[in-house]
Symmetry: C2
């Protein structure tokens, strides 16, 4: 049966990939060629969806109640794995039952943190289609991340095609409740079986899927941040601009410290000027009232320390297209200046005290928008205005627009039907 399925999928997949129509669509959604980053100089094999093997699980799991879902704790029936070797390049992709990976104890990922990942979501739209949101951006960033720690790069379109195939197979796992989704986690690890610190001669790319509920099941709940100056998330010349595993483990202890003081996340402050950089594992936006009316929407620039978040980019793009009149966002005030510029805690504190601060929020794939109501800073709390619904004057409408586009309620070429 497994063999029969394998054949069926190969055939259907190959034909899809050979379909000119679909290919065009793919390229349109990935305007910047990912092939440019691909390390195929030596004529090694790239990821090839036509080589997909499929082994269907013999023991499908019981679907969980959506109300019991806890972020990242439940995984679907299948996973995608794609091996890579220095000699041959990318091997045959395999969709197989979700289960343990056999890893040599010498695997370099276990010693030297050779891991990168992405976070994406798939939604069911009102018509029952499955949608993904700007997945080409994730494929591009994953290649950039891979290059930063000498892991193999790949054709992002090809990986995306395989991810779609995996989602289609496990599509019954996507919760149908509004705002629920399937979290998609592609991960690439170095699996060299020798403990030298070097580019690995073996690697493994795998993709797992996790059904997730609402981030704020009972409505928006603003969070309190601890302005962190004792620890850094990133530094100039470091890895903060890449989605690497190494940026995450070191943040757990500072998060514990913040929690012990009654704050839920870290606000990572940088340098003697205490520049605001990121919030926990999210990008960060602050909104000021401009003198004479209107708003300034500010986020720190991509200076090498800031993750180029896809939600970050979407918020900026929405706000810019709205402000310029290209594509108005319903409800959003018209006078908005969009700035990518450094912002310090002094500026935020002064604005809070003078009434010039309008709101402050985190932005990322998991929470989408995460409003903030106070920042613990040098022993006192800086208060941030928050509306009755937990949101602010800009984030309220940006969130509605983003979620509308993600779930297909608002037409957008950012959302693709798979």
């Amino acid at each position: 049966m497994s063999l029969a399925f394998s054949r069926a999928v190969r055939t259907s997949n190959a034909s899809q990939f050979n379909s000119a129509g679909l290919r065009t669509l793919l390229w349109r959604n990935a305007p910047i060629s990912l092939r440019a980053l691909s390390s195929l100089a030596g004529g090694l094999a790239d990821i090839d969806p036509s080589k997909l093997q499929f082994t269907r699980t013999g023991k499908p799991k019981t679907l969980p109640e959506s109300s019991t879902l806890k972020f990242g704790h439940t995984f679907t029936d299948h996973m995608l794995t794609i091996p890579w070797t220095q000699e041959a390049g990318w091997g045959a992709p395999h969709i197989q039952p979700y289960g343990p990976l056999a890893m040599e104890p010498s695997s370099t990922v276990l010693h030297y943190a050779q891991t990168i990942f992405e976070g994406m979501k798939a939604y069911t739209d009102p018509e029952g289609n499955i949608r993904m949101f700007r997945p080409d951006m994730n494929m591009k960033r994953m290649n950039t991340s891979a290059h930063r720690i000498a892991l193999p790069t790949f054709n992002g379109d090809a990986l995306l095609e395989l991810i779609k195939q995996l989602i289609r197979i496990d599509k019954h796992w996507i919760p149908s409740e509004p705002g629920h989704s399937l979290y998609v986690r592609p991960t690439l690890i170095g699996t060299q079986k020798a403990i030298g610190v070097s580019p690995p001669n073996e690697a493994l790319l795998f993709v797992i899927l996790s059904p997730v509920g609402l981030y704020y099941p009972t409505g928006f709940k603003p969070i309190a941040l601890y302005g962190t100056t004792e620890y850094v998330r990133a530094a100039p010349g470091g890895t903060g601009a890449f989605k690497l595993g190494v940026n995450y483990a070191p943040g757990i202890l500072p998060q514990r410290h913040a929690a012990a003081q009654g704050y839920s996340q870290n606000l990572w402050l940088h340098g003697p000027e205490h520049y605001l950089t990121e919030v926990g594992t999210m990008n960060m936006f602050v909104v000021f009232h401009k003198e004479g009316g209107g708003y300034e929407l500010v986020t720190p620039p991509l200076d090498g320390m800031i993750l180029p978040g896809i939600t970050r980019d979407s918020v900026l793009t929405l706000a810019r297209e709205h402000a310029s009149g290209v594509k108005p966002v319903a409800g959003l005030p018209t006078d908005i200046t969009v700035s990518e510029r450094p912002v310090t805690m002094s500026e935020v504190k002064e604005a809070s005290e003078s009434g010039r601060l309008a709101e402050l929020f985190g932005a990322g794939t998991a929470a989408i928008i995460s409003p903030v109501d106070r920042i613990g800073y040098l022993g006192e709390d800086v208060h941030i205005p928050v509306g009755k619904d937990g949101m602010g004057p800009l984030s309220r409408h940006i969130w509605t627009e983003l979620v509308g586009r993600q779930t297909g309620k608002i037409p957008s070429d950012w959302s693709i039907v798979i």
Copy 2:
């Protein structure tokens, strides 16, 4: 047979651990209590050697020719594993055949780099005893590292006892050639089966052994360093002072860049002053001629960016005890000032030009001492004096003393017979 062995080891091990004499010896070798760091507040189980289970391999591997050994590529017949859970603490240690670990794809180590490790060596001395070098320091540092990324801490004496047991079982793997050793790699990883960024609720400690040959099989060969200003290894508020996996993967690309320009390792320079910090994955020493004669031995201070290396500490201690007359080192010049202080590339460059530079070397477990003959810095080479044997006036004698103590030729309480 496996069961019989298991019983035998349990018995012998329990009796050793209960022997007052051996326990005293252990404590003497670990003057700073490691228990202080242990996270046993909730009454959870610590690592307990008396619970050791042993499964002997049914397929012992063929011992490799020592001349073919490549660092970290060959592993012995057995490994030690110790599981941990948030609910129960440390579980029963198990020495078992070396082989793959079954890891859930959601294991947090694969996503968020929750890994720490140590590097130690075991030697055979001229009398046939097996020796380790200051292993209490590794146990202490491993606990400090674990705490930094919210992994569980443990009783270092207990882990060391189990490591000794593992080495005794695979002692025929220690190459007998002079300077050869068994590299010991304890690793601790987060294995929580859920992709939230948080302290893991499951972890696994494992220890693997790798026979290694001479680092410089054909005599000392000085290396060329690339003074790296584009990338950082560490930053204030970061993790440079801890032996975490996250400090290693990001260094591979800079190392490639250095290699592409004809240099073998990075010299990590920090800040606008270009402070020298570390060399590749080693600590760093520079030696100046003092005005009026004698030498100054300088290494950067432990300011939070420098790994507290055990070879680093040993070099400093040897030199200080020599300089103060407490314990003279054969051949070492008497007039040595030992400094833990910042040192900049300007100072090194000026000293190179004026003839005040005596030598510069890396120090670490793998290479012990690694002399340097030039540094590529801002487009030109800074030349470092090197003796005919590849060593400098201090490193030559420090190396001899260190290796003498490690291999038991020179009596020292740093070296323990296991």
